[in-house]
Symmetry: D2
Subunit: 286 residues, 4 copies
Amino acid sequence: MNETLILLIHCPDREGLVASVTALIRGFAGNIVDLDQHVDASRRVFFMRVEWTPRDAGPEAVGRFEETFAAQVAAPYQMHWRLERASRRPRVAVFVSRYGHCLYDILARWESAEWPIDIPLIVSNHRDLEAVAARHGIRYEHVPVTGATRPEAEQRQIGLLHEAGVDLVILARYMQIVSPAFIDAMKGNVINIHHSFLPAFAGGQPYHAAHQRGVKIIGATSHYVTADLDAGPIIAQDVATVSHKDSVEDMVRKGRDLEKIVLARAVYAHLRHEVLVFDNRTVVFD
Amino acid sequence: MNETLILLIHCPDREGLVASVTALIRGFAGNIVDLDQHVDASRRVFFMRVEWTPRDAGPEAVGRFEETFAAQVAAPYQMHWRLERASRRPRVAVFVSRYGHCLYDILARWESAEWPIDIPLIVSNHRDLEAVAARHGIRYEHVPVTGATRPEAEQRQIGLLHEAGVDLVILARYMQIVSPAFIDAMKGNVINIHHSFLPAFAGGQPYHAAHQRGVKIIGATSHYVTADLDAGPIIAQDVATVSHKDSVEDMVRKGRDLEKIVLARAVYAHLRHEVLVFDNRTVVFD
Amino acid sequence: MNETLILLIHCPDREGLVASVTALIRGFAGNIVDLDQHVDASRRVFFMRVEWTPRDAGPEAVGRFEETFAAQVAAPYQMHWRLERASRRPRVAVFVSRYGHCLYDILARWESAEWPIDIPLIVSNHRDLEAVAARHGIRYEHVPVTGATRPEAEQRQIGLLHEAGVDLVILARYMQIVSPAFIDAMKGNVINIHHSFLPAFAGGQPYHAAHQRGVKIIGATSHYVTADLDAGPIIAQDVATVSHKDSVEDMVRKGRDLEKIVLARAVYAHLRHEVLVFDNRTVVFD
Amino acid sequence: MNETLILLIHCPDREGLVASVTALIRGFAGNIVDLDQHVDASRRVFFMRVEWTPRDAGPEAVGRFEETFAAQVAAPYQMHWRLERASRRPRVAVFVSRYGHCLYDILARWESAEWPIDIPLIVSNHRDLEAVAARHGIRYEHVPVTGATRPEAEQRQIGLLHEAGVDLVILARYMQIVSPAFIDAMKGNVINIHHSFLPAFAGGQPYHAAHQRGVKIIGATSHYVTADLDAGPIIAQDVATVSHKDSVEDMVRKGRDLEKIVLARAVYAHLRHEVLVFDNRTVVFD
């Protein structure tokens, strides 16, 4: 299989952006296999994702492309950009608490090669899922967290993540707040699953709140984690119907299926480099 | 077509409720065609909807059933109940503002006999849709409303509703608050459509708020109107997917289709006597 | 509001296609507001939709763009292409039989200016909906059709369509087969709504068949009409859940809402020039 | 927790059915916690599921209830019926081929106690998933199947199932036909997941067929297995949207999530004794 390169861009909207980018790729003998662009008309911001197979995918050729792009295209248009290689295998850490359904689902996708990732590390504030990690041969670190010990606990977590060379942290129903320092250490590459249709029922106990309100639809939301709890940029959401017959426990059960699927969709889009964040919202080129 | 009777009940849960009700119906030679019951286990409340064809549907026979039921079943079990005749044609008033999509949809369902109702009255705080009413031969009353004139405006509206013998008011994107006095005058038979997935984005401008938050799904909610704005018992909800490509205007457009369909589902359930309200939540036996 | 131009292209996939198109648009001082492209990797076909605001939208400037594009880009790359003006108001004819729900919905969208179209003509093989057309001031032509008279009936229909300058025919539950000659006369611009989730339950009586099979979900499908009945390129589909409680009549009722919404989505995509057809499938750039 | 009993009934529709059943339960001091009934008006068949907590759940008391019910209610009304104890733990065998996603999902639900079942046996015509079974300590039997050896292979499978005391077989993407003899040996308790929205794309390669047809929605269907391939009574279905961007491989990937969720819903309804089969269709009292 040929290597493909993926370029993600956002910048102030101007004439000639698509033509400039595609001309340069063409100049480097690249064959575009996918191009998606979007203009946020109200904010006058341009977003683009372009994927191509270069004739030469060696580090030198790609380095030269990057230099030329930076100088001739990115700088004059004030672009924020990054270039990704489709072949690079991300290293992912999963953070869990006591609920296993999202972890089981992630491990199944990893083991069956649905996701081309490595999982060097599972971190939890409890020991409940240690055996699950063990049987997959994945390191499991039990890092208890209390309000008082959070700073030290996070320092230990950040150390573990750096040591394991982790690119992405998945909070798989981790149920703990993470600090801005933690998010910074991961350069924002922290994805959470919230068990409600945000912004409805933010905070804890969303199924209880949904039951109390008598809604007819419940949801789940996967988002990048930001300092503002439950308010990060949304990557994926989905819903399921409920009725008066559903107790809180039924909602929790139906919600589990939503949560694992929505989290998986968000992670997959991230792994494919399909997500751009701007002004606390995502552009998902799927 | 035979007449069918519909009995709606809620009461404290006890043993023998279903048997008592069905035995009495049987005693009156009724053939049950549909029976749905639900126990809210956490609140220990029993809900039931039973529909049957009586051998004799004349007013005397039905009157005798009601008396016997009240004395022998409802009283000992402390039931709240009502008996409806499927053949009775509800009289419906539609309240609108400037947006026509829900009104058009309601009129189409009425004219094509999808809904067995009469629409003697359309009320609006604007004149925009007067011609639509006129061409269907429906009385259109323009009742301007301002903060200062609301009490008199509502008095006039209530007078119009009573005069026209209206059973149900549909707020079809009416965009005005109605007072507790108005709701009481209609005995709670006021259904609204809110253009968001409540409780997310309650209040005005929900599509702007949804766009700002970057949600991936928008919704609409139909509910009985209560004194607490946007907090009444939810009858129906539905959602549609959106993406970064959708501007506020796109969301408004997609939302219109949601709104009219969700409102129609809620009204239909109400017209079929499938909805029970208890403690600000609905039981919808559909 | 500025004029926007829309270019739709498909051709064999080659390097440099996006760059060539966008460079030419840039050369004519156009500002791209939307660009979507897709490569069907298995067939090696390239699809593109690009929308831009030209500095000069006058007929001469646009004519020069077309000539240059045809010679310098389209010819060398063997492109199939068309250029549309967003400001051009399509002329639409609606064909109906006895069911009014899709017609009502279309007229509401037209009257409320949701769709920027003209509707000069409604054609039907029955007189049932004549009054609906009359009250909107739209010409209604009753053209009875039997197996024996179909050819003459279609000749009359084609005459009416040409006379009214119609661009698009919507078969809004028309329930009659149309011939290849009719489709050719409309250059393929004929959109139908089928009341099933095609290819399941093709042919007549799909709700009866769905009920008989005991499916838990019903659907509707909107497609371009081709000579092969119910097998044309699908533009839009949607579904609704059903249960054992739903009789055939309930399915028909739920299906009506699906049909009108799905048909409207397909027509809207067509009106916005978002649909490309290739090899009996659609690319819908929405 | 109290024991609950579940009675499932179908019989010709007659007056007094609900009253007779509920009166008897009341006579045995049972408190009904859930009752659902349905009349198929076109076939005049009555269906009922009733769940109650008996004062005495001992084998003698329940035995007496069964005898009395059989004689006094079931016989005069010609009922087909069965009585289930909610506390009884079903024994489930999972049949797989090479695809693991449904098996992973089932094992996660079992291990996390979401499903109160035992899984004594996994059977496969391949060895691929043997290690997955081993790490959960579940017996894995490799039973190769070819057209010629199917009868002997099935005899061996039936022997294994009887030996393990299996109540329910889940075909978790097993990809092999099972014979009427096999289905009989399991008394019809065989649930399959088909990777299409049946009846569309029955048979093999449904995603290829769906891609070829250009559908905009794909689905999955879980059904009881009958002699007629892919035509058994449908228990659950769900769908996901696709577009021109989705290759066959994308559909397969999206379909995996559908398949495992839909299969799980069907199995859960079966485990809760919510499914009645009549005339190749299901009544699902959920």
